[in-house]
């Protein structure tokens, strides 16, 4: 486990013990409405955590997030790294005896976190998603080279992956020009939702 996660884990434990009791009991309902999943069905068998390929990169385990939500600890959930680290692979869903749709729960929690201006524990993940959406907004399809360049500008990390990028270019894996949707009106219609161009 790297430094960053050790820190996350250290921070996480005492908080989870202190604040339970003055929880926000509307929170679990809000998550249910958005995700279509009833979190109160989870009885913490931990099958999800056992199979999750990224549990070690998370601060709370997947069912830990559910426990916090059951206790109404809205803020803890929304500022956790777990909701951004989860890739929605559904590995946990096939193991879960209660048919909890963890990927849908995490999608819902990220949505709530963005809307309520919660502190984003993994801003790089959100930056990456935003760059992908900007690319789709511009071209209707993802333009990988541009996404990577813009992500690098955003995170000011120029050197990680330079070699990978060059090898991909050499193998013609990164097209210089984007593949585009012709009907740009359709695209505008999809993204025309808020003042900043529709991207959350």
């Amino acid at each position: 486990m790297n430094k960053r996660n050790q820190k996350n884990n250290r921070d996480a434990q005492p908080v989870a013990i202190i604040a339970a009791g003055n929880g926000d009991m509307g929170f679990i309902r809000e998550v249910k409405e958005r995700s279509g999943t009833d979190l109160s069905a989870c009885f913490h068998c931990r099958c999800c955590a056992g199979g999750c390929p990224f549990v070690e990169a998370m601060d709370y385990s997947p069912h830990g997030i559910i426990r916090l939500a059951q206790l109404g600890m809205r803020e803890e959930v929304l500022k956790s790294a777990t909701i951004w680290t989860c890739v929605g692979c559904h590995t946990c869903s096939i193991a879960c005896p209660m048919a909890i749709d963890m990927a849908a729960v995490m999608d819902a929690l990220r949505g709530i976190a963005i809307e309520s201006d919660a502190a984003i524990a993994e801003p790089d993940v959100l930056d990456f998603h935003r760059e992908v959406l900007r690319s789709i907004e511009r071209y209707g399809r993802t333009h990988k080279l541009e996404i990577m360049m813009r992500y690098k500008v955003k995170t000011r990390d120029w050197f990680t992956d330079m070699d990978v990028g060059l090898r991909m270019l050499a193998k013609r894996k990164l097209d210089l020009m984007p593949s585009k949707v012709r009907n740009t009106k359709d695209l505008k219609r999809m993204f025309r939702k808020n003042a900043e161009g529709g991207i959350p």
Partner: protein
Amino acid sequence: MSRSKRIPLSYFPGCSMATTAKENNRSLIEFCEQIGYDLIEVPDWNCCGSSSAHSVDAELAQDLAARNLTLAPRGRPLLAACPNCMLRLRGAQRHLAEDPDAQQRCEARWGRPVDPNLKLIHFFDLLAGADMKGLNKTSPGLKGLKFVPYYGCMLARPPAMRHEPNHHGLMEKILSDLGAEPRRWGYGARCCGTFLSVVRPDVVGAMVDAIFRNAAAAGADCLVTACAMCHMNLEVRSTLQNRIPVLHFSEALALAVGEGNGKDWFSRHLVDPRPMLRSARLIG
């Protein structure tokens, strides 16, 4: 196969196959042609949202997938090979079927009807019904190829889709019908890391290296992947000096029906599979 028996299918390539994994796209189209299907690209299709749209904007994810459904001509099944695109398209179709208002809004927005009965078929659905043993008699086959199948997360589904067919073991079955030899291993359903490959290369790199090490320890000459994104993450993220190549499932299939020789697919791999294919006498 005679002309009259050919079956036309609408085809949704998706961004990965249309760009970074062109070799996946071309080998798939050529293989399908060989077994009697003509793929007709959905006109002006858009990205299904990749792993990002549903992660941060549910409504946008639905819109992106639904627009593609309105573009597919009525009465002709729609084929996709990317597991994630298929998941998004199926999710959007289910949402429209469950919510008549959403269906109405969608049709009003795009000014086009959505065919509620549009049949969505994944490449694996197509293969599940095909008889490869018959094909084997007339085609070069894959004798001598030892492989491990890599499904990534494609066999895992959200609970709402748990009753849909699951093609566990399909790559092993089809490729061994064609003469290849599957090796047993425990890493075939590991997630490839999707976007964490970019954001947390440290985490994904270690995981991908374990996948390669275990594939080699199982005695495989190569991995065979079902998804273009898995293929890219495996190739790009491994930090091992010596590792076995990764073939797209469609490349293995195209090779088996004699479509692989002289193609520029293999030069697009980060780990060149040609020496391995030559020593297995699968290409000249």
